[in-house]
């Protein structure tokens, strides 16, 4: 609950957030942000690969919009 209020506090009350120690945990220094970015990049690459494979199969089988 304390974390909820702290996050909302930092989001909604910008003048005071400049002084809050809790809000000074910078995201570029946290490993979880980097790992989440990398995981999402891999996930996006996987989704794009699936979409491209689907398009390629449809094209190969000739079941496109005109087929």
């Amino acid at each position: 609950m304390r974390r909820v209020f702290t996050v909302l506090f930092c989001l909604i009350m910008p003048p005071i957030s400049a002084h809050s120690d809790e809000c000074l945990e910078h995201h570029w220094a946290k490993a979880e942000y980097m790992s989440e970015l990398r995981f999402q990049l891999m996930l996006m690459a996987g989704i794009m690969a699936v979409m491209l494979a689907y398009k390629a199969i449809r094209l190969f089988r000739g079941t496109g919009r005109c087929g």
């Binding site: 996050v7 909302l8 003048p15 400049a18 910078h26 995201h27 970015l37 990398r38 999402q40």
Partner: protein, 254 residues
């Protein structure tokens, strides 16, 4: 490519005439200019608060404009049937989507540039202008690009109202994703609910990574490798959202 640029230019001119663009931009500009009235703090603290308040206003303005303009760009054309003469031309279905997206983005960027110039002028007046403002504003623009792409993607899959509401929720949720939702997701007991929650969690964009307000306020150094990864992430996320939007618009029966 030239067709996309022509469509983008037409969309930009159309969006620049919309009331919401003028109202939101002027409101944010007023907030930024009025922040000089925070004279009851000492000068050092005043500059920090000014930077924090102005950056938050710019981010919020960008998010609202991106959602409002992008979620109505395509459905508005379909409803008013003004897309038919465009689609009757020899263009592919993804070209109007990209044209609308870049046009909407240009409009939002024009508004944010005006506000950014006012912000920079305020900081220059207090001898507090440094290169970090370009970093903070640049990544704010990239964040807005992602929100616009999500709004455009959702507008091709549902109605404009639903797209706008969900896009705005994604904007808010993405801004507090790791800080707030990660502990919640990890504490879910039910295995099925946990899988669904994790799926939604990983689909949400990590918008907090684009927020360099702290670096601007406290003059902090950000590692270059992190900056590059965030740019690559932002471009890939927007590209994926636009691919889904183009695919959905391509299959739509108009």
């Amino acid at each position: 490519m030239s067709r996309i640029l022509i469509l983008a230019k037409a969309t930009m001119l159309e969006n620049a005439r919309k009331q919401i663009f003028h109202v939101v931009t002027l409101l944010t500009l007023t907030v930024v200019c009025a922040s000089v009235l925070l004279s009851f703090f000492t000068l050092g603290v005043q500059v920090k608060i000014l930077k924090d308040l102005c950056m938050t206003s710019i981010l919020f303005c960008g998010g609202v404009l991106a959602v409002a303009l992008a979620s109505t760009a395509i459905p508005g054309e379909v409803e008013s049937r003004t897309c038919y003469p465009v689609l009757a031309r020899p263009i592919r279905r993804y070209q109007p989507v990209l044209g609308k997206y870049f046009g909407t983005l240009l409009t939002v960027y024009i508004g944010l540039t005006v506000i950014g110039i006012a912000f920079a002028a305020l900081l220059a007046g207090r001898h507090a202008l440094d290169g970090l403002i370009i970093l903070a504003l640049g990544y704010a623009l990239l964040e807005v690009a992602i929100i616009a792409a999500i709004a455009m993607c959702l507008s091709t899959l549902s109605t404009p109202a639903v797209a706008a509401m969900v896009s705005f929720l994604v904007f808010i949720a993405g801004s507090v994703k790791i800080g707030y939702f990660r502990p919640l997701v990890e504490n879910v007991d039910n295995p099925v609910a946990r899988v669904m929650a994790k799926g939604l969690y990983h689909l949400l964009p990590n918008l907090e990574s684009f927020n360099f307000k702290d670096a601007l306020v406290h003059h902090l150094h950000v590692p270059q490798s992190y900056l590059i990864q965030v740019v690559v992430y932002g471009i890939c996320y927007a590209a994926l959202a636009l691919t889904v939007a183009s695919s959905a618009f391509g299959k739509k029966e108009l």
